[in-house]
Amino acid sequence: MANRSAKVTVAGLAVPFRVWAQRFAFMGFVALSFALMLLSKAETAGIERMRLAIVDTVSPILFVLSQPVQAVGQAVDGVENFFAVYDQNRQLREENARLVQWVQEARRLGVENATLRAQLEYVPDKRSQFLTARVVADTGGTFFHSLLINAGSRQFIRRGQAVIWQGGLIGRIAEVGQRTSRVLLMTDINSRIPVVVESTGDRAIVRGDNSTRPVLQFLPDNSPISPGDRIVTSGHGGVYPPGLAVGIVAEASDTVITVQPFVDWSILNQAVILDYGVDGILPAPEQVPISPSRSQPATEPNTRVVQ
């Protein structure tokens, strides 16, 4: 008996306490996770600040990690382009011939427009300015459809600005950190975009449903719509500027109308943030010095690139 009691050590006595402390820690962190989820659901300002602080901190690491990935992507593109160069050249020549005709048409319409506006004393739309940023994180197509871009409040990004790439709408700025912003994609379940069908002018809403093809809703019952119709933003609600290309109607049945976005998600490594009507914050296009080597036409909007 005396021998057994002699074997009791401090470390031995501490074991049950350690086990209890570990269980307590586990339960504590689980409870904390639930509490944070509830606060997050309530969209507390503190949670958003915390999220942005974390994102701002890790975004330089994301940027560094994305460099080799982009390099591999560019190498693959290079090889593909090498083999497709003949076909591409032929296609581009044809496209160029078509576009030259469009340029003539656009010039004629421009002159006509200017004459008509002068006659009507028309107040023109505010000019847009662009900022190009790199996509540093793509949260994948599972439950949350958003991107992180490496431009934030330091680059005068503000919540609600429209984001496009290669002429097609991507989504809008949802959160702005100092050097990083989150773009809510048009495919996310929380996304609603007021649109018009270009051919008929009928208004509708494009609602994200977490699939690659959002749904067209609230279209008038008698509206004639068919696959291939172009959908553009209407500008209603004041979030998106009017006339941005959203997509084309992919499927139009009695029950559901789906829209195929113009943007190709698989090559989305950069994004253009549109800035409408912020005179005084960003320099107006006229005030940006144009170097003789880059002879930009005076009508081209101001563009900047964040690397």
Binding site: Q22, F26, S33, M37, L62, L65, A137, D138, G140, S266
Partner: protein, 174 residues
């Protein structure tokens, strides 16, 4: 204490950070815009593989606080409600710690099969929590494809982690 004793101590201390650091990097790698069409749509859960690996082989170097922190970083970057991935990762940790004695020290296929059982639980928990928090039943299709890809990619990531463990920590604890 002279320099001869300080350097091994420092090396050991830094080595002990390898599990958390590699998992942190995999959390970020999982969010990168990958230029591969299929991978950009369905990102495999690289971080889950790393988490599982280290909890099986070095649970002492993967404390609850670190797992919680890694989950919070994933939540912040992925734009998920705060606490979602933190909770999922804690559940994975509790599950793997509970079943660890059946996996550690066994052949690789047992290790892989263990992951093939843990990953669906994690995916199911994520889907349920995300659906609950977003107030609608989310389509589980892409998550299922991501799950299958994660299980298929497991050996490749585990191979990298084996090398990291041998190089920086050593096979101390089985």
């Amino acid at each position: 204490m002279n320099t001869l004793t300080v350097f091994p101590l420092m090396r050991r201390w830094l080595g002990n950070l390898v599990p958390v650091v590699t998992t942190f990097l995999f959390v970020l790698i999982g969010q990168l815009p990958l230029p591969v069409p299929l991978l950009s749509d369905v990102a495999p859960a690289f971080a889950l593989i790393s988490l599982y690996y280290w909890i099986v082989f070095r649970p002492d170097l993967m404390p609850y606080a670190a797992v919680f922190g890694l989950g919070i970083v994933q939540d912040a970057v992925a734009g998920a409600p705060f606490g979602l991935y933190a909770l999922v990762y804690l559940l994975v940790q509790a599950l793997v710690l509970n079943q660890r004695r059946f996996i550690a020290g066994k052949p690789f296929w047992v290790f892989w099969s263990g992951f093939a059982m843990v990953a669906p639980v994690a995916a199911l928990a994520t889907w349920m929590l995300a659906s609950l928090l977003r107030g609608t039943l989310l389509a589980p299709g892409t998550a299922f494809v991501a799950l299958v890809m994660t299980i298929i990619l497991f050996p490749a990531i585990a191979w990298l982690l084996v090398h990291a463990q041998r190089r920086f920590i050593g096979m101390v604890e089985a």
